[in-house]
Structure formats: structure tokens, C-alpha cells
Symmetry: C2
Subunit: 233 residues, 2 copies
Amino acid sequence: MSPRRVPVSRRDRPAKPPLSRDGAVAVALRIMHEEGLERVTMRRLATELDTGPASLYVYVQNMAELHGAILDELLARLHLPPADADRWHDELVGLLCAYTHLLLDHPSLARSVLTLRPSGRHYLRLVDTILGLLRAGGVPIGQAAWGVDVLLQLGTATAAEHGTRGELAGADDERQLFVMALREAPEQEHPNIAEARDDLFSGAGMQRLTWAFTALVAGVRSTATPVPEIAEG
Amino acid sequence: MSPRRVPVSRRDRPAKPPLSRDGAVAVALRIMHEEGLERVTMRRLATELDTGPASLYVYVQNMAELHGAILDELLARLHLPPADADRWHDELVGLLCAYTHLLLDHPSLARSVLTLRPSGRHYLRLVDTILGLLRAGGVPIGQAAWGVDVLLQLGTATAAEHGTRGELAGADDERQLFVMALREAPEQEHPNIAEARDDLFSGAGMQRLTWAFTALVAGVRSTATPVPEIAEG
DNA sequence: TGTCGCTGACGAACATGTTCGCTACGATCG
DNA sequence: CGATCGTAGCGAACATGTTCGTCAGCGACA
């Protein structure tokens, strides 16, 4: 069954490092930077590492986890502002927008990250920074803790939704279809849509995103968590 | 090339309806109710319709669009409360929670819907109802219009994130990994996480969801949209 | 009546993520 | 030094969504 056991003469390759998780992630990052994320497939990665696709699953549970690792590297570039009691609000909104923009360039990354909560080093630093900014703004600890979750989710979901980079070009058509459906909505059946028609699509993406973050931060700030101190032991 | 042109004797089938979009969606719904959403594959659907997978793409652009059609049928069951100036807030939060719960049973539906804005009849009714409730609560039209987007997105994203029904059982492991990462976060490196540790994971899913919706509604209500009336012609 | 051309349908194929057993290497132990 | 066993690695396979080139059937027209 194995007469062609010629080991492909891997003399030109750098002696084949023994295949580790970090190595796989590093190669994935290189491919992504050189050819884009959509070229980072399990098979391509395996070929690059001179092995078969199945071997990768020893170090990475699935594609989503690989995406998580890639994101964590991207997050390293994010500039984290210090917690300042005066500028906390604008810094926070800016940071969230920057996070969202990072993902907007790689929507399929956003889709993976939405499913699988990342647990990388840089992601933890991001969470910590957001918590710090909320605290600097006087937000109670419980609300800040619950809020950081929703704030990051909003950014991730926005990127997953609005991002149509290459791979899924048809999504624009769908959005246009939705816009048309709203525009053509019969007035008597959907009176509120008719009334809000002009406002539903107004504003650029960035404006709306900033507004959404501002609104959510305001809500997190002003909304108390239920029965806050009862469970205290 | 076609000596086996025996038409499979479709005498037992109801004469094979001539393959329409509505028919495909109806069969998809039946399969979903009988065997679960994960069994609704293009191939299965084609087999059921006595054709090949390729034929479906005449009536449906892709799997996501099919998911959108399925969701719209599910949304028909949603009870839409009337716009009441007194009870608007609880009705609104309740409706959003109901919408989220609908999707929580079918997370892959949520993931599709997040990408592709649905434009079905029932979805439009939902949007209209939410707009009406916000208006009943005295929210300015512009903020309501921008808010309905974010509110629905929060529900959809939550379902896509927390939903681990069958198909992706490993996501729980990842979440546990994230929890562990947060618990073990070194105190000096992530002081805010350390401080918020107990609050980060407190509360049941339903409690947190209700709180998130409440907070977001409050924010939408209190946050003005930028330069509201300038573009007016 | 015979021929042309069009459109809906389809069989086959491709690339993807993921899984299943087998293989063969290397450490461990007698 | 030799036998044993655990395990990393891997080839092959499977099911999925999606696309491509082709074909049958049918209406229009000479």
C-alpha cells in the first residue's frame, strides 16, 4: 500500500519544524497578509506545513478557533488608551470603533468570533481596558461587567453584518432588496415604517456606529443590574 | 448517454409540482419541523423535491436566503403587542426577548440572518411594531429608526453567540476556556478584570438579556442622533 | 410539417471543513 | 539490547454548498 514512501525530498524546506499550534498560526497569519483571509483554508495551511489537513486538528479544534487565534494577533495592533476620568467617553467609543473597523476588514473573522468567545492575551487586555474606561466614567462595577460583553458584541455583530469583503459579494444585493422592501412597504400596513422611512437609511455607517456605541454606553451607565447585592455571601 | 431515462416512476409522488420557490420553502419547513434545521441541506431538499441540488439555485440565491425565508415563517408565530403608552417598555423588552428566544432554538438560522438582512413580510411587521412601541414611549423618530436596527441586531447576535444546539457542541468548551482564562487572569496585568471577576459571569442568560435590552432602549431613548435636521430639504 | 432557438433543469464536478482508522516512530520498560 | 505500547501524523473518505456545461422539451416560425 505504500511503495511511494519517497518522503518528497524535503531538503529544500527548513527541515520541517515539528508542527506546533503557534507555528500553524504564524503560517496562517503570513498567508492572510500575503493573499487575504479567504485563502487561509485548512488544506492550504496543511500544504504549507507539508502535511495533511487532518494533522492540524491536533493543535486546533476547528476553523473558528484558528480564526480566534488570528484575531488575537490583529488585536495586538490596537492602541489602548489609558483610563482618564475626563476623556473616558470619547476614548471608549473610539476604541470600540477601532475594534469594529479591525473586524470590518475581515468579516468572516467576525462571524467566527461571534460564535466562539476568544480567550487570547490581547483580547483580555482589550476587555480590561474597556472595563477600566467604564470605571473611569463612574459606571458601577456590575454594570460595567455586564456592559463590556454587550459592547464588544455590538462591534463584532456589526462587522459580521456589514462586512462584505470579497467572499460574499451577494450580500449587497440582499441589503438592497431589504431597502427596497422597506421603501415599498404599504403605508396602511406599516404606518411606522412609512413615518420613519427617511430616517431608517440616513447616516453613514461610521455615524450610525458611533451613535450606537454612545447610546449603549449611556444605557449601560444608567441601567442598574437586577438585585445587585443580595447574592453576596 | 441517457439510456436510463426511466423517470424513476414518480407515480407515488403527487405528480411533482413544477418546482417553485414557495414550494421549496414549504418543504424546507416540513423537514425542519420533522427532523431539525441541521437536516435541511440543499441536497436533502433537492432529493425531497425529486431533483438535483443545482436546480434549487434558480429560486434561491444561496443557503442564507433560504434561512431567511424560513425565519420569516417562524416570525409569523410571534405575538405582536399593540403600541401602548403605558406598558410600552415592558412590551418592547418582552417582544425582543421573544424574538431572541425564537432564534436561540435555531442558532444557525441566527448566523445566517446576521449576514443577510431579511426582508420578509413578517419581519417587516416586526420592525414596524418595534418602531411603534418606541414611538409610544416618546422616542423621537430618528432615534427610533436607528434604534430598531441595533435592538434587533443585539437579539440576533445573542442568539448566534449563545446558541449551541447540536451542530456545534464544542462551543461550550470554548466558552469554558474563556471563563477559565478570565478567572486565571493575573491580577497585576488585568486589574479591572480581577475587580469585576465575580460580576462578569453572574446572572442567568435571561436576566442578562433583559438587562441588555433595557439598557439599550434607555440609551436609544436618551441619545440624540447627530445633526438631526440639517439635511432637510 | 420540419427546423431553430431559448429556457428551465440537471448530472457531474470542485473546493471546503471535518472524521476515521491505520502506520510507524520513539520512548519506556524488562 | 530487544520488545511493547502510546501517540503523533496522515491518507482516504464523507457531506456540505456552489458552479459549469449540457440537454431536453417546447414554442415560434418558415
